[in-house]
Each structure stands twice: as structure tokens, then as C-alpha cells.
């Protein structure tokens, strides 16, 4: 076993080095993902299911940036999903702003909340990080429950509808299910493009290094805390985006969207699909929602079955559905 002598292959050129780091699939992952999402309404049992896959898939993609790529297990991401949804709903219902401004407000509120929660949580590690995020998100939940004049309390937020998406020069009928689906797909596609760029950026390399070995990343000269915070905030904004889309889609924000069960759902979808893979979160959302659809026809205790399947996944396919397929594809 040679340590310092170069007895193996000749040094690869830097181009070949690049090919090793950025296989062709990476270049096409956004178009391929979007294409797949475009087909969904035609192959799934219902269009309602397809819209949910879009929204929950995006939610899991946002979460995956923090969990799968940065290695931070948050149990509080429902807070950003809910905050985005509530802020959008309140902006439209109470302040009467147009849909685009409402979305921006949703993202801003989710991003602000993520900055605060991130600054508090990132001081801790491991299980304590998870617990702090959980506690802070419960704080948000109970705040929404108490501030019922703004949020509708237990009944959820109602009384706002987006029926048309108006652009300069034209408008889309948001009540038409297919128009709605593809309008949301465009937003999701933009988000995926952004995530893909971020993952390919120097920042993307640093978060993976932090996931792999925080101590060494710090010794390599990276400000680990600041990088984690940026990842936390980006992740929160993406989950907030999923929230704004959910609010506009449903015309209601259920209080449950802030509940810790929603946080658990996000973790589950991400793990089912494959944490740390680009398209895995959508597969996870699809798998979960399909199971819910099918098993809830048989029994009201469908979560029991999903729970067992989830445990089997954690035990035998820890890379998730998509992550396992990718591993097979690479021959490992």
C-alpha cells in the first residue's frame, strides 16, 4: 500500500477530475425533475394528489437542503411551512394585496422566522438541535392558536381566495385545476433550479463538508456556524414557499400546518425518498401521499401501516427509495 509514491494510474487531467465530481446527471436533474412533475397529473389517480405531491415535494426539498445536505435534523420545519402559509393568507385576506406580493410576504416572514430560530438552534448540536427546533416551532404553533383574531385560531385561517393570477398583459384562471397545477409547477421549477445552483455552488460543497465532518470543515477555514445559519435560512424560505403555495391552493390555512406532526411528516417524506438526493424528496412525498390515499380506503388507521413501512425503510433501505436507486445506478 503506497503512501507517498505514485504507483497507480497517471494523474487524471483536471477535466477528468471535474467529470468525477459533476456527472452528467447533475446537469439534467432540474429539467428531468420538472418533466416528471409535468407528467404527474396524467398518471396519478387524482389531480388533487398531484398538487399535493408538488407542494409537499417542494417542502421536503427545502428540508432536504438542511437535513440531507447539511446534516442538521430539524423537528421544527412546520413553523416555516405554516408561517409562509399564514403570512400569505393574512396578506391577501386582511390586507387585500395581490397574489405576487402575498407570496413575497410569505417568503419574507418564513425567512425572518428561520433567521431567528436558526440563530438560537445552531448554538446546539445533535439531539439538542432537534429539540430546540421542536420547542421553537411549538412556540409558533401556540402563538398562532392564541392570536385567533389574526389566524382564526383552531378553525384555521379562512376568508381569502386566489381565483386569478394576474400578470401584466394577461391573467390565468387559478380555479382551473390544470392551470393551477402548471402554475404551481412553474414556481416549483424555479425553486428547483435555485436549489440545484446552490448545491453546485461553493456553498453547496461547504455544507456537504460540514455534514461529513464539522470539525475538519472548521479546520479547513470555514465558519461553520454562519454556513449552517445560511443553510437553515434558505431551507426555511423554501419551506415557506411551499406554505404560500399551499395557502393559495387550498384557500385555507389549517392550524395543523404548524403542528409538530407536520414537521414529522416532512422528515418522513424526506427519509422515504432519500435524504441528500436531489429528486428523492418528491419521490418520498409521492410515496407517502399514495400510501395515504390507498390505505385510508381500507382503514382509518392507515398511519399504522405507513408507520410499519417507514420503520422497514429506516432498517433496510436507509438511503430511501430514490437514494437506493441511485446507488444501484452507480453500481455500489
Amino acid at each position: 500500500m503506497s503512501v507517498v509514491r505514485n504507483v497507480e494510474l497517471a494523474p487524471p487531467s483536471s477535466r477528468r477530475g471535474l467529470a468525477v465530481l459533476f456527472p452528467g446527471a447533475n446537469r439534467w436533474r432540474v429539467p428531468l425533475s420538472v418533466l416528471t412533475l409535468c407528467i404527474l397529473p396524467w398518471v396519478l389517480p387524482s389531480q388533487a394528489l398531484a398538487v399535493n405531491v408538488l407542494i409537499y415535494g417542494l417542502l421536503a426539498v427545502g428540508y432536504n437542503l438542511l437535513f440531507g445536505y447539511t446534516g442538521l435534523l430539524s423537528f421544527g420545519h412546520a413553523a416555516f411551512f405554516g408561517a409562509g402559509a399564514y403570512a400569505t393568507g393574512i396578506a391577501i385576506g386582511t390586507f387585500g394585496v395581490n397574489w405576487f406580493v402575498a407570496m413575497v410576504v410569505g417568503l419574507a416572514v418564513a425567512g425572518f422566522l428561520a433567521t431567528i430560530m436558526g440563530m438560537l438552534a445552531i448554538r446546539t448540536r445533535g439531539i439538542y438541535f432537534s429539540m430546540v427546533t421542536l420547542a421553537l416551532s411549538q412556540l409558533v404553533y401556540y402563538t398562532a392558536l392564541q392570536a385567533s383574531s389574526w389566524t382564526g385560531g383552531e378553525n384555521g385561517l379562512r376568508g381569502f381566495t386566489v381565483s386569478t393570477l394576474s400578470f401584466p398583459g394577461f391573467s390565468l384562471n387559478f380555479l382551473d385545476p390544470l392551470v393551477k397545477y402548471y402554475a404551481i409547477t412553474i414556481v416549483v421549477a424555479l425553486a428547483l433550479w435555485f436549489v440545484s445552483r446552490a448545491l453546485n455552488s461553493p456553498f453547496g460543497a461547504v455544507i456537504e463538508a460540514i455534514r461529513e465532518n464539522e470539525t475538519r470543515a472548521r479546520a479547513c477555514g470555514y465558519n461553520v456556524e454562519r454556513t449552517k445559519l445560511l443553510s437553515f435560512v434558505l431551507s426555511g424560505i423554501l419551506c415557506g414557499l411551499a406554505g404560500t403555495l399551499s395557502a393559495m391552493h387550498l384557500s385555507i390555512v389549517p392550524l395543523d400546518s404548524l403542528h409538530y406532526q407536520t414537521s414529522g411528516l416532512i422528515v418522513m417524506m424526506t427519509l422515504l425518498g432519500g435524504a441528500g438526493s436531489f429528486f428523492g424528496p418528491f419521490i418520498g412525498a409521492l410515496a407517502f401521499l399514495l400510501m395515504e390515499d390507498i390505505f385510508s380506503l381500507w382503514t382509518t388507521n392507515w398511519q399504522l401501516i405507513v408507520g410499519v413501512i417507514f420503520i422497514l425503510f429506516v432498517l433496510y433501505l436507509p438511503k430511501g427509495i430514490w437514494g437506493t436507486l441511485i446507488s444501484w445506478g452507480k453500481g455500489r
Binding site: L21, N200, F203, V206, E208, E212, R216
Partner: protein, 251 residues
């Protein structure tokens, strides 16, 4: 020119009631190889962690090129010119070997950029490839680091520190767990590296240290027991008593 690159004055470290280091004073001259030795629990690791910024001393000062390092966060040490390797292999296991080194090199170009493709920094890529070649890992560039053999992981460990091109390189037991052949190769590499940088290393293999170093510091119970050339250390009766004489299987 003969200014010390790093000077340690009266450095002590306490963990609760345990005194790990007591009043260490030493200057490290540019271009030398200095070895730090001592029995287990002598405070070598603590001393090393202080020199690399992982720990802050409880008392005393640490100066690098004349600048006090007290308020400098650990992640800035490498930017000042101090890099370290670890005794227990401390790599990025699920990243490709080349990426392990590339990400370390990238810290000098871009840390928080979320928009540019990292592939545009070709010089970083080239530097990483060249560093891999220097430690003999070119052929494994695309392998995940966790699949490397132990000796190769040790080489990668050094490469990650080396790509920072540090003026002061801290090596924590660079030959830990290596056989005689690998150890010889590592010694050759260290000698090559020492041509244009200052090296400080912690080691257990006495023959290697006495042959390689310009200077040896001996720590014992958290105190500096001896400081001198390898010949002086070999001749020092107290050192022989507490350390060299305690077992003969040290080589």
C-alpha cells in the same frame, strides 16, 4: 528573518480541576522540524489543540508571526497560515477523494457563494489534483474517501492540511497505525515538505523522531521537561528515566 514563526509564552490549560498544561514557553523558528514527545497523558494533544486553535489556553499567550492569537476564531487559523492534520483520521468520508482536497482548497477562494458553479474555479481544481499527486493519491481521485485503505486515508489526511499551503504545518502522529514501509514513505514526504515550511509534529516512534527532527520538546505531566536537539534529548538522563526507558518497544 530568524524571528520565531510561533511563540508560546507561559501557556497553561485547565479542564475543571484537571491541569493539563502548566507554564509552557517555547519559540518555534521558521523552517525547522520540531517534534513533541511525551508519555500518554503528558498534554501533547492539549498543546497541539492550542497551537491549532481548537482550544484556547486558560493562561499565557500564543503569538503567530508576532500577532496575538487570543481573539482569533479557529476557522481563521488556516487563513493565517497554520494548518493541522489529525491523529485519528479526520476526513470527509462520503465525498470523493479529490473533493476532500478541493473543498479544503476552496476555503481560500469562496466560502458563502451560493450562486456560481464551483467548477469555474479551475485553479482550485488543479491545486487539489497536484496535492493529491504529491501524496500519491492521483489514481484514487474519484473514489469515496471512506473506501480508501488506512495508509491512503492517512495520506489524504495530510493532503487536506497541505493544500492550504500553510507556513506552519502541525502533524498529529502522521504515521499512526502505519507499518515500517509506509512510515518510511511518510518520513520522506515530511522531509520534502519541510523544505519550504515549518513543521511541528507529535509522534511516538522515537527512531523516526530522532532522525527527522531539528529539535525535540518533551512534555511530562503537562510541563515542559526538556527542549533541545535530538542528541541532547537522547543524552538527557531525566528524559530517559520518564520516557525512553519505560519500554524498549518504542520503535
Amino acid at each position: 528573518m530568524n524571528e520565531p514563526i510561533m511563540s508560546v509564552a507561559n501557556v497553561g490549560k485547565q479542564f475543571g480541576g484537571l491541569i493539563a498544561l502548566r507554564g509552557i514557553t517555547a519559540d518555534f523558528k521558521e523552517g525547522q522540524i520540531t517534534a513533541i514527545i511525551g508519555p500518554n497523558g503528558a498534554g501533547k494533544s492539549t498543546f497541539f489543540n492550542i497551537l491549532s486553535g481548537a482550544l484556547k489556553p486558560s493562561s499565557g499567550t500564543l503569538k503567530f508571526r508576532g500577532a496575538d492569537m487570543a481573539g482569533v476564531p479557529q476557522h481563521d487559523y488556516v487563513h493565517r497560515g497554520i494548518a493541522r492534520s489529525y491523529q485519528i483520521t479526520n476526513i470527509f468520508p462520503n465525498l470523493a477523494v479529490l473533493e476532500n482536497v478541493r473543498v479544503a482548497a476552496q476555503a481560500f477562494r469562496s466560502r458563502m457563494n451560493i450562486w456560481t458553479n464551483r467548477g469555474v474555479y479551475e485553479d482550485i481544481e488543479d491545486k487539489a489534483s497536484a496535492t493529491l499527486a504529491a501524496v500519491g493519491l492521483s489514481g484514487r481521485a474519484g473514489t469515496l474517501a471512506k473506501f480508501l485503505a488506512h495508509g491512503q486515508q492517512r495520506a489524504l489526511e495530510i493532503a487536506i492540511a497541505l493544500v492550504a499551503d500553510p507556513a506552519l504545518l502541525l502533524l498529529d502522529e502522521p504515521t499512526a497505525g502505519m507499518g515500517p514501509e509506509e512510515t518510511r514513505e511518510m518520513v520522506a514526504l515530511i522531509e520534502k515538505l519541510a523544505a519550504d515550511r515549518t513543521i511541528l509534529l507529535v509522534e511516538h516512534k522515537m527512531k523516526m523522531i530522532l532522525g527527522l527532527s531539528d529539535r525535540v520538546l518533551v512534555l511530562h505531566h503537562g510541563e515542559l521537561l526538556a527542549d533541545g536537539t535530538p542528541e541532547e534529548i537522547r543524552a538527557n538522563g531525566e528524559v530517559r528515566r520518564v520516557y525512553l526507558g519505560q519500554n524498549d518497544g518504542y520503535a
